[in-house]
């Protein structure tokens, strides 16, 4: 046990960061599966950008940097942004994509203005501190953050486990679920809430734009390997965990900070590999399939009179 304890002690920081990013990756994969199946992939990006002024206001109101308070501010502001997007798309002639872009951009601009003002006008604020929400700063992760992320991950897992059938129905056959009497709108809002919470919690670690990537990449990669929702959820979580873990390790090993971009690049690599090499849905597999069918067809066309086989290749 002695060796293990010394190992824990010497690599404490790295282990804390690893725990954080792995949990984050796993939960992003879980929640992101529903996000991309519901065509809401870029909602994470919008939420992450819209959350910035909330962080600044929370800091200004509270007076000092406290992670839970700032994350709460981020959550409130991000959700407000998304509600404004829905309102604009529903009540005016502005289409949804323009609404997302407008809200995202204006909120983020307000956030930049606020954070610049804070960094120059107050003694306790510093641009680098609030910067860390944009680019992420894994070096600043402490044990309490891990507890927070663990709690959030557990909550997401519980919600998805309890409402698995309802989410599945609302995702794949929305009209049927409404006809059956399920509260589809409430389920939608709940899902949006899960996305918001995980995005906000991930902001200090990987930053704004890259959190959006964490939501999309593991799930999109998992999609290539399976057609079943349950498998996709498990696979996306697993891939997310792997991506978070290896990205952090790579960044620590080669001293590439911040770790956020490295994690995302690892994720892109995983996506690329999945896209190319997955059986049946992967590119290589489909090209091979195509080639084999063409070969069969060419050969078959030389004997036109013959009856067709029972099972087409």
């Amino acid at each position: 046990m002695n060796g293990f304890e010394t190992f824990l002690a010497t690599h404490y920081n790295t282990l804390v960061v690893l725990a954080c990013t792995s949990l984050l990756g796993a939960t992003s994969g879980l929640v992101g599966t529903f996000a991309i199946l519901r065509r809401r992939a870029l909602l994470g990006d919008a939420l992450a950008h819209a959350a910035l002024p909330g962080i600044c206001v929370a800091f200004m109101v509270w007076g000092e940097r406290s992670l839970p308070i700032m994350l709460l501010g981020a959550l409130v502001c991000g959700v407000l942004g998304v509600l404004i997007v829905s309102f604009l798309a529903w009540a005016t002639r502005i289409k949804e994509d323009a609404a997302i872009g407008a809200v995202l951009g204006v909120f983020f601009g307000a956030g930049i203005a606020l954070s610049t003002w804070i960094s120059k006008a107050t003694p306790t604020g510093s641009r680098a501190g609030l910067d860390s929400y944009i680019l992420g700063k894994t070096a600043g992760i402490i044990r309490q953050d891990v507890y927070l992320i663990a709690g959030v991950s557990l909550a997401c897992l519980v919600v998805i486990a309890l409402l698995y059938k309802e989410f599945k129905l609302a995702t794949f056959d929305r009209d049927f679920s409404r006809v059956q009497g399920w509260p589809t709108l409430a389920l939608d809002l709940l899902l949006m809430g899960l996305i918001a919470v995980i995005v906000v919690v991930g902001l200090p670690a990987v930053g704004v734009v890259l959190m959006a990537a964490m939501l999309i990449l593991p799930a999109a990669a998992a999609r290539f390997w399976t057609d079943k929702l349950g498998t996709m959820l498990a696979l996306a979580s697993g891939l997310g965990l792997f991506i978070g873990c290896s990205g952090t390790l790579a960044s620590a090993q080669f001293s590439l900070t911040p770790a956020g971009p490295v994690i995302v690049l690892v994720g892109s690599a995983v996506f690329l590999v999945s896209m190319l090499l997955a059986p049946r849905r992967g590119t290589v597999a489909r090209l091979v399939e195509q080639w084999r069918f063409n070969a069969w067809l060419r050969e078959r066309l030389q004997r036109p009179g013959e009856p067709l086989p029972e099972e087409m290749p």
Partner: protein, 434 residues
């Protein structure tokens, strides 16, 4: 012009900063109109993130931010982004929004990675690239820096104007009706990629002013605001430039007033403020206008129903007031909501009804004419439905009830002529003369 010289001399800093903002924001606004109309706002967002690696690579290769290699790198990456997104979507069956998210976040991560790890020792501040440092532009005016900055931005604006002027018709058709464009021989795809290339150029030119991330609101928000203000493409472009210019002025002024904040951020906020104003106050598409339009339509329908109701009561009971109608009875009969209650005094004001003793409502001659026209429309329509569609008697009243408000004099005449000037409707009631 000497006042201009004096003004510029006194406000040197402000003038150059605002000028930089105006040029950059105007270019973004013009192209943003096409993005908003073609529902490609998020592709503009994607490109503005994705060009980051292009900028960093160009900087690493050339050591400075000169227009030539920057533009080339930007166009290449912009088109690459659009192309990769399209390929992922059509070739690997990744849904469109996911493929866009994957491409631009990966490229952005690559850009940040290069920026923070390879450009650390050189003169490229990450904050400057990401959020812009328009405040530094005036200081560059004094040395060589200003040439490249203003040259870049000026070229982008001029290029944008030339692009739009040259391809005005093609862009217009390809934006509103891509199928027609293809049928006419205009390659919608070529126009698409040309547009993406121009967006990249403008984004790169603007990044020194507002940073690559704050280009997004300047691309989308002025155009979206203009979209609320007009239905013509030309005017939309004019309005978007107006909003962009105003954002530059207001953004700078408010940043100066708040003393130590990001000018680019305040420009985005200023644009957002104008957008919010337009959402509520725009003359036809604003929320207040819509509410007002709905209310006035409701009032028109309800007041017509009111006089028609009094007329029908007269018909049933003769001119004598055997059946007298009170305000409350009328309001209840025509719908019962606040608009219905208000219709009574409104019609009295217009001289269509008057009150007899005991608040009994009676038609004036003017009102009777209006009611007769409405009832004539109603009964002609019933006759029309009965004769041409053979609808049973109990199916006639409802549709006529709805459409009677929208049958104007010409349609009345056409109906009457078509039905050979009938005297009674299918229920046997007299059709009032015109």
């Amino acid at each position: 012009m000497s006042w201009l010289h004096a003004f510029l001399a006194d406000h040197d800093l402000a003038a150059w900063t605002i000028l930089a903002g105006v040029i950059s924001n105007a270019s973004c606004a013009l192209l943003g109109c096409y993005l908003v109309l073609r529902r490609m706002s998020l592709l503009g967002d994607a490109i503005s993130h994705a060009i980051l690696p292009g900028i960093v690579v160009a900087f690493l290769l050339t050591g400075k931010l000169s227009p030539g290699p920057l533009f080339i790198g930007a166009i290449a990456i912009g088109i690459l982004t659009a192309f990769l997104t399209q390929t992922l979507h059509s070739f690997a069956n990744v849904p469109e929004d996911s493929s866009m998210g994957i491409v631009f976040t990966s490229l952005f991560a690559l850009g940040v990675f290069l920026l923070t790890n390879l450009a650390r020792n050189v003169d490229l501040d990450p904050g400057c690239v990401l959020y812009g440092a328009i405040e530094h532009i005036p200081f560059k005016v004094d040395n060589d820096g200003w040439v490249s900055t203003f040259a870049t931005m000026g070229l982008a604006l001029v290029g944008t104007l030339i692009f739009i002027a040259l391809f005005w018709k093609e862009l217009k058709i390809a934006s509103f009706d891509p199928a027609l464009a293809s049928a006419m021989g205009i390659s919608a795809m070529l126009v698409h990629y040309l547009l993406m290339g121009m967006v990249s150029v403008v984004t790169v030119a603007a990044f020194e002013v507002v940073g690559s991330v704050l280009v997004v609101p300047m691309l989308i928000v002025p155009a979206a605001t203009a979209h609320l203000l007009t239905d013509r493409l030309g005017w939309m472009m004019v309005w978007s430039v107006v909003v962009a210019v105003l954002s530059s002025f207001i953004g700078y002024a408010s940043a100066a007033a708040l003393d130590q904040t990001s000018v680019a951020g305040m420009m985005a906020v200023a644009a957002g403020g104008q957008f919010a104003l337009a959402v509520f106050l725009a003359p036809r598409h604003g929320l207040l206008a819509k509410v007002f339009h709905n209310l006035s339509l409701a009032m028109r329908i309800v007041s017509e129903d009111l006089v028609a109701l009094v007329y029908r009561t007269e018909e049933l009971s003769g001119r004598s007031s055997d059946r007298s109608l009170s305000w409350r009875q009328c309001a209840r009969a025509i719908g019962g909501g606040p608009v219905a209650w208000l219709a009574v005094p409104v019609e009295r004001r217009r001289g269509h009804i008057r009150f007899q003793r005991g608040w009994v409502i009676e038609l004036t001659n003017e009102g009777r004419r209006k009611a007769q026209s409405l009832v004539r429309s109603h009964r002609l329509w019933e006759a029309f439905l009965s004769e041409y569609f053979q609808l049973p008697l109990d199916h006639l009243h409802e549709p006529a009830e709805r459409i009677e408000h929208f049958i104007g004099p010409e349609l009345q005449e056409s109906l009457a002529a078509e039905l050979r000037k009938p005297e009674v409707d299918p229920h046997g009631r007299e059709i009032p003369p015109e």
